[in-house]
């Protein structure tokens, strides 16, 4: 397979113009973006972001994301999981499933997939390249939906502000949770899927001509 790297070409990441004879620090002649054969320091940057996201994942799930004070009941602290359980037990099964997917499954899936992609790219593995590329696309597509709980808590905190009766405050957990979402989004952006294909074993070359 003829690749841009083997042919000595560089693809502009922004406007998709293809250039040859590119010197270091050159900019794309069409759109002006910096030209890099691969995203710079892709693996180490992505590792750093994924590790930071893994660390934030713990407080995100253990600390309360929402603190409800409603008279005359005492203060109630909700974590991500207890919020999902609340929906389930109160009969809102559809919402329980939506929040479970967006807030629990998606972040976990993203971290697991990013670690898988990083380890296989780092070991120059040619294992299931097509499927790994698909996993990367899925991660890019679904990542943003984890912001759901951040918006839910923000809107509730803005709306339920009736002093003396009921107030909702955002808890520290939601900040950690938002950090996980933002860090994993940056991680999938800094990962260069071409690195997986670069190091793959020579594939069954189809006769071109």
């Amino acid at each position: 397979m003829k690749t841009a790297a083997r042919l000595g070409m560089v693809l502009c990441g922004h406007c998709a113009a293809l250039w040859k004879d590119v010197q270091a620090h050159d900019r794309c002649g069409r759109c002006g973006a910096r030209l890099h054969p691969r995203k710079p320091d892709s693996l180490s940057r992505t590792w750093a972001l994924v590790i930071a996201a893994c660390i934030m994942y713990l407080p995100a799930n253990l600390l309360p994301v929402m603190i409800t004070a409603s008279f005359p009941r005492e203060e109630q602290q909700d974590t991500i999981m207890s919020g999902i359980i609340y929906f389930w037990t109160s009969g809102s099964w559809v919402l329980a499933v939506i929040v479970f997917i967006a807030s629990f499954l998606v972040p976990l899936f993203k971290l697991a997939v990013m670690i898988l992609l990083l380890v296989t790219a780092w070991r120059h593995s040619s294992w299931r390249l097509l499927e790994r590329t698909r996993l990367y696309r899925i991660v890019e597509l679904i990542g943003r939906w984890s912001m759901l709980d951040v918006f839910v808590v923000s809107l509730l905190a803005g709306l339920v502000q009736i002093q003396g009766f009921a107030t909702v405050h955002a808890g520290p957990g939601i900040v950690a949770f938002a950090a996980v979402v933002v860090l994993t989004m940056f991680a999938s952006m800094s990962f260069d899927p071409r690195l997986m294909w670069d190091t793959g074993a020579p594939e069954q070359e189809k006769p071109d001509e």
Binding site: A16, G29, L156
Partner: protein, 231 residues
């Protein structure tokens, strides 16, 4: 440094393909990994501008009016999007307030105004100025951080959550958010990157004659998807 206008490389697997002249609404896909290489956007360009202006109207409604109201033992409380951001700020959740502000208020507005400016500038002469280059790149960079549709789902979840503890009523902004999310889905399917490919007709002819020079590169598979996206 020399441009190779008749070749295209896959941004996901780096395979080099010969560029094909695309028919209406056709999509070229990488034959190695299946990623989208190019998409014909000629039909789209005329449609995006009115949709973007409609989105801007929805955006204004979504930001001026309350998202929802809450009645609790006779006391009524409304909140707008900005109100929610400000109450996070009042609780010293600055990072969170900033994140909600940029993803739901600032970047969507920036995206809409940027697209309107861009589409108006290219519709006149078809020529691109240098200031426009930076503009297109910024629109693309901020695109993943526009989260209107996620906010809509969040508003619905918050709304249902409250129905069990108080009387809640939807505000005009909730409906506007629904409209905005729908319009945005269509507006954002227009990737500003394709503006670069909308070469003037005389250059397209040149591309076609230069194609024989690059017979070494495999041509991209044309996916026969003539599916017009409904607004």
């Amino acid at each position: 440094m020399q441009q190779l206008p008749d070749l295209i490389a896959c941004k996901e697997c780096d395979a080099v393909h010969r560029r094909l002249t695309l028919g209406h609404n056709e999509v070229a896909r990488c034959s190695r990994c299946g990623a989208e290489l190019e998409r014909d956007m000629r039909d789209h360009v005329g449609r995006v501008l009115p949709l973007t202006i409609a989105s801007l109207f929805m955006y204004v409604i979504a930001n001026v009016f309350p998202v929802a109201g809450l009645e609790f033992h006779g006391a009524v409380n409304h909140t707008t999007l900005m109100g929610a951001v400000l109450s996070l700020g009042a609780e010293e959740m600055y990072l969170l307030a900033f994140l909600v502000f940029v993803t739901t208020i600032l970047f969507p507005l920036f995206q809409l105004l940027g697209l309107i400016y861009l589409l108006i500038s290219i519709s006149g002469t078809g020529r691109r100025s240098h200031g426009l280059n930076l503009w297109v790149r910024m629109i693309q960079t901020f695109r993943p951080w526009v989260m209107v549709e996620v906010l809509l789902l969040g508003a619905i979840v918050a709304f249902v959550k409250l129905t069990s503890m108080a009387t809640v009523f939807p505000g005009p902004a909730l409906w506007a958010l629904g409209g905005l999310a729908l319009l945005f889905a269509s507006v954002l399917s227009f990737n500003p990157r394709y503006i670069w490919h909308m070469a003037p007709p005389e250059r397209r002819k040149k591309l076609a004659t230069a194609a024989d020079r690059t017979s070494a590169a495999p041509s991209a598979e044309k996916a026969v998807t003539a599916k017009p996206e409904s607004p």
